[in-house]
């Protein structure tokens, strides 16, 4: 009994060693670039440090300050959630619709697929500067159109109520990668289900809700997760377009972290914000995973 077990272990060891050697570069990368900085960031969040001077141990003072005395924190949190909510919902619905359209036999399908994917591969800064001109209050293209039609100018980026939805629209427009993933998913929905349903007399709408959507739930889950994590960490539009404003209109948490740490040189405080943002993302991801079992359909799953 023991002999074959030993053999088995030795065989596994050789394999394990090879695996470790092959994994080593990425493990080292993961440790040095992700885990150590995370630990450092958490440790730093307990200190006050301006980068050049002495570090002072503060216990949880940075966190108390953030939750009780910082006038911008809750505004920043709400702004981030609002942005993530609009852009996640918007990009999922928009990408799904575009993917459904592109999945049909339309003329010049390859061309349209490229067109909708294009925004995703454009350099982010160029995209945002282009949109800045579209949204501009004084000379922008949208307001030019609105005025031409007899309306009055809209403060797309210049009012704290409009700025987050306006920026989220750009995120939706940029979601070309989701379209591609949805398209791949749509092509995996078994034809046979549709044919069977057609024979049973189901119309297009019933087939969409009854077959396409359930078969797509794993893909929707993946896209939802990726989109949520990306959008909660939003910073580029604030950096390139609005500088966090007007007021705290686009003062996203990542942007707050960045300005506190790298502009105001309050590294401890910036780290505390990073830790809080990490926990918030963890909570949302946890909720998503927790509920996933009840609505995701896997082929071959007993529940289906």
């Amino acid at each position: 009994m023991t002999v074959p077990l030993k053999k088995k272990i030795r065989y596994n060891r050789a394999e394990t060693r090879a695996a470790w050697i092959l994994l080593l570069p990425s493990v080292i990368g993961l440790i040095c670039i992700t885990y150590l900085p995370m630990i450092a960031s958490f440790t730093l969040s307990l200190f006050s440090w301006n980068g050049l001077g002495e570090m002072k141990f503060l216990r949880l003072e940075n966190y108390t300050r953030l939750f009780t005395r910082d006038t911008k924190f809750y505004g920043s949190l709400l702004t981030t959630l609002e942005y993530a909510g609009i852009s996640v919902a918007g990009s999922i619905v928009y990408s799904m619709i575009i993917a459904l359209l592109l999945n049909r036999k339309i003329p010049a399908r390859g061309f349209f697929r490229a067109v909708f994917y294009l925004p995703y591969v454009l350099p982010a800064l160029a995209v945002y500067l282009g949109w800045k001109w579209l949204y501009d209050y004084n000379h922008g293209f949208f307001n030019y159109g609105i005025k031409l039609l007899g309306g009055s100018s809209v403060k797309f980026l210049d009012s704290s109520a409009m700025v987050t939805p306006s920026l989220a629209c750009i995120a939706v427009w940029l979601s070309g990668n989701l379209i591609v993933i949805f398209l791949a998913g749509l092509q995996n929905v078994p034809r046979t289900y549709h044919e069977a349903a057609e024979i049973d007399g189901a119309n297009a709408w019933q087939r969409f809700w009854g077959i396409t959507i359930p078969c797509m739930t794993p893909i929707i889950f993946y896209n939802l997760l990726m989109s949520l994590v990306t959008n909660l960490q939003v910073i580029t539009p604030a950096l390139s377009l609005t500088k966090g404003g007007p007021g705290t209109g686009s003062y996203f948490m990542c942007y707050m972290l960045y300005t506190q740490a790298f502009k105001s040189h309050k590294y401890g405080y910036g780290s505390a914000i990073a830790v809080v943002l990490f926990l918030i993302i963890a909570v949302f991801t946890g909720i998503l995973f927790g509920t996933s079992k009840s609505w995701i359909f896997y082929e071959g799953d007993d529940k289906a």
Binding site: D158, G245, G247, H265
Partner: protein, 438 residues
């Protein structure tokens, strides 16, 4: 064959090492700066001159992107890898000097004939910690063609507008599609085709209006925050009201360092306040028939002066770095590339107080602003009589106060969502706390 190839390759790899080991008997120091490609070339040209004129010091440039400049220097400082000298952002000078990064400058200009002006001396608790590389002040630029078209006399170089006059003139220069001016029956603020004025609301440039209105942002020793005084608050509101109430200025809710582009440079604004460096950096490319005048006056005539610093960092080659910086920041070393192009105004009093000095730059035919008499009043006399240092010359932590807290908060005032009083009252405790942070 393979062996020969391997040996050749190994030798090729070792070549750079040989170059390093060779040495030229000179002390190599590094000078860090930000700027675009043109600026990098002009820096290199200046370094070539310096490296060529003596054989003790060799200066190598280190270009760092502007946006990340200060943070990059901090990273180098943490790693103990700071360059020997370099440009320093105005808002980071006291931060660096307080944390022991900057070398002592107390005898940098001792016994020199040309002394830098008082206005551009950075002081921490009264002690000089650095000198700007040049002098820049805020002035009013105007589009002469727009004034001619409106039959409006040009702003005077001697007697500045009062604030009310400024607003009135701006109203006469503002009109909508139907040619109506603000205040006239049927004027439509949604359809303005030409604006009368734009006051640059890039945060640090707003401090001058508090001074002009008889207030201040910070006390002169840099220890107290005074921005909640009625004068300071009123000055912010008055500037915001140019767009919100008077309808004479374009809306600029999220300011960038592009006031000239939002204002006179857009071709639809008649007057704009901005810094004198624009004479060299922007106007030569703008094709605008422009003039210059002192800033309008709320209560007291005043302008702000400022400019970045070329600093020496503590280190092994401090003495060599001193020598280079002293040479590099002399007006003559940058005479053709920066002074005569209009980008730098001289930093030594000699160029403002003596006729010979004034003629040397303002009177030079290469200088971009051609009207010597106006230049004498608006650039020279205005600097000498009315310039006060911007707050970062004496107030610590402006990288937090003006650049972060005020910058974000004031946007709600520019957009008209909140009043200046409301916003300043809210952030005042935060500002007070920020200036005493180490």
């Amino acid at each position: 064959m393979k062996k020969v190839l391997a040996i050749v390759l190994c030798l090729a790899l070792m070549l750079p090492l040989l170059a390093l080991a060779e040495g030229d008997g000179r002390v190599h120091i590094t000078y860090s700066f930000w700027g675009n490609q043109t600026e990098a070339e002009s820096v290199q040209a200046a370094l070539d001159v310096f490296n060529g004129m003596q054989d003790k010091i060799f200066v190598e440039p280190m270009q760092i992107p502007n946006e990340e400049y200060t943070q990059t220097l901090v990273n180098y400082a943490i790693a103990d890898q700071l360059p020997d000298c370099g440009m320093v952002n105005e808002n980071a000078v006291l931060y660096f000097s307080r944390n022991g990064v900057m070398a002592d400058v107390s005898d940098m200009y001792a016994g020199e004939e040309l002394q830098p002006m008082d206005c551009i001396t950075f002081r921490d608790a009264g002690v000089p910690v650095g000198y700007s590389s040049c002098n820049e002040i805020l002035i009013l630029y105007y589009n002469k063609d727009m004034f001619d078209a409106a039959n409006e006399p040009y702003p005077s170089a001697d007697t500045p507008y009062t604030w009310d006059e400024f607003v009135e003139v701006a109203k006469r220069l503002t009109f909508d599609e139907a040619g109506k001016h603000p205040g006239e029956e049927g004027f439509n603020p949604e359809k303005i085709v030409q604006y009368g004025a734009f006051v640059n609301n890039w945060t640090w440039q707003m401090e001058v209006w508090a001074l002009s209105n008889g207030g201040a942002w910070f006390s002169e020793d840099g220890n107290e925050c005074l921005i909640n005084s009625p004068e300071a608050i009123e000055s912010i509101q008055k500037v915001a009201d140019l767009a919100l109430v008077e309808h004479v200025a374009p809306l600029n809710v999220i300011p960038e360092d592009n006031g000239i582009g939002v204002g006179i440079g857009s071709g639809t604004v008649a007057m704009t306040t901005d810094g004198t460096w624009r004479l060299g950096t922007d106007f030569p490319n703008l094709e605008i028939n422009y003039g210059i005048a002192p800033l309008p006056v709320m209560k007291e005539e005043v302008t702000s002066c400022t400019s970045g610093l070329t600093g020496v960092f503590k280190g092994k080659h401090q003495q060599e770095a001193y020598e280079f910086v002293k040479w590099y920041t002399r007006e003559e070393s940058n005479w053709d590339s920066l002074v005569l192009t209009g980008i730098w105004m001289p930093k030594s009093e000699y160029y403002y107080k003596t006729e010979e000095g004034i003629q040397a730059w303002l009177g030079n035919e290469k200088y971009p602003f051609k009207d010597l008499e106006t230049g004498r009043k608006v650039l020279v006399d205005y600097t000498m009589n009315y310039a006060k240092p911007a707050c970062w010359y004496f107030t610590p932590n402006t990288q937090i106060t003006t650049n972060e807290i005020l910058f974000t908060a004031l946007q709600s005032v520019w957009s008209g969502e909140r009043t200046a009083e409301d916003v300043i009252t809210e952030i005042y405790p935060e500002l007070c706390e920020a200036i005493v942070v180490d």
